[in-house]
Symmetry: C2
Subunit: 213 residues, 2 copies
DNA sequence: GTCTATAAATAGATAGAC
DNA sequence: GTCTATCTATTTATAGAC
């Protein structure tokens, strides 16, 4: 990835103001939610004048949708690739779980922002953004259907299977965030779980859930 | 439950203003989150003057904590009772799942409010409220430990087991809310799942997850 | 593209009459 | 206990100079 930095003290046009705003917005929205974040907060974090945000984005909602849409598009591409890969359904499922965790590790704002939007009932999302969300679900559903057709999976309603895997994934990310608040690490539900263990547990649970008997 | 209603047109002291505020706050906070709700919104829904809210509660945060605390205390009592009941661990686990769903059915604000607070990293909760949250987790952990001691469950980290069961539960509630928004019922991830099916699925998945091999 | 200044609306919270 | 009116701070958003 190319790194573009403005020369120190430069007064000319900053090449990546938009990117700085975008990244600051992702972090802020993830940390405090749509209503909890002010446009000033984003400007401050991005080290950008507030008016610049309105120069690059129509308004706060459009910026938010851009962040969530980009996030969903990225994970959607990953899932679609896995679903289309040349692997057994069981391997695809394991890969789905592993990639989801790795994806979240590389983009810490992702799970919390997604969980927040889900918890809120997705009131900020338009149909276009929801369609990106759908792509993730459909990719997962394809893995399931292939497995059922091959007889390696028992038939389970894709919605139930999806929530059974993604729900714990997101909830664990939220748990880690709660634990990060000061004075909480002693509480038993906030002990650290290595992501290797998380992945292994979810993979085993998912395989058992789908196992024909 | 006794029903107390002020006589129509009464100008005297309303007996249950506090309750009206409390219930309105639960509904509003659940629907739009701490930052998304204005004290005016709560006053309007409760059909109470805004100043009355500050007469009964110190401020917005104290009101919010009262709502969440009451919610956690109620579910905590239920879980503790199940853990102490005279049942096999497997039956206790099934009962935990069923009661959690039934509890949410009877109190529609519960799952969303809880998921919201979790997603936010519980920034609004003090240690006292978190302790109530802990009680729910500990009750669940006791069921697990009893099962492991009796050999009916394999040993699984209680945090992983807890998120694996409660995560899907909460995520499904959020899903139902997303589906409720207009123009969304056609999307495949928003199809309705009967709660009977949800319970059965989670019970089966949980038992398989914990099954020794 | 970038900045300052400010408009316009809304938020949380309180004073004080009844 | 209940109400009206209001204070103060903050918020989204824009106008307009450079």
């Amino acid at each position: 990835m190319a790194i573009r930095t403005a020369s120190p003290g430069s007064k000319g046009p900053r090449p990546d103001t938009r990117t700085a705003v975008f990244q600051a917005a992702a972090a802020e929205f993830s940390a405090r939610g749509f209503d909890g974040v002010g446009v000033d907060d984003i400007a401050e974090r991005a080290k950008v004048n507030k008016a610049m945000i309105y120069y690059h984005f129509a308004d706060k909602l459009a910026l938010y949708r851009a962040v969530v849409g980009d996030m969903l598009a990225t994970i959607g591409t990953t899932v679609t690739e896995i679903a289309a890969a040349d692997l057994t359904p069981a391997d695809k499922l394991n890969r789905f779980i592993e990639q989801f965790v790795r994806h979240a590790d590389a983009r810490p704002w992702f799970p919390t922002l997604m969980l927040r939007e889900i918890a809120a009932g997705a009131p900020h999302l338009d149909l276009e953004t929801l369609t990106l969300m759908k792509a993730v679900f459909l990719g997962f559903g394809k893995i399931l259907a292939d497995g059922a057709a091959a007889g390696t999976f028992r038939p389970v309603h894709p919605v139930l299977a999806y929530t059974s895997i993604v729900g714990p994934l997101l909830m664990n990310a939220a748990r880690e965030r709660m634990a990060a608040e000061p004075g909480r690490s002693q509480l038993p539900m906030f002990v650290a779980i290595p992501h290797q263990d998380l992945i292994a547990h979810l993979q085993l649970t998912a395989q058992r859930m789908l196992e024909p008997r």
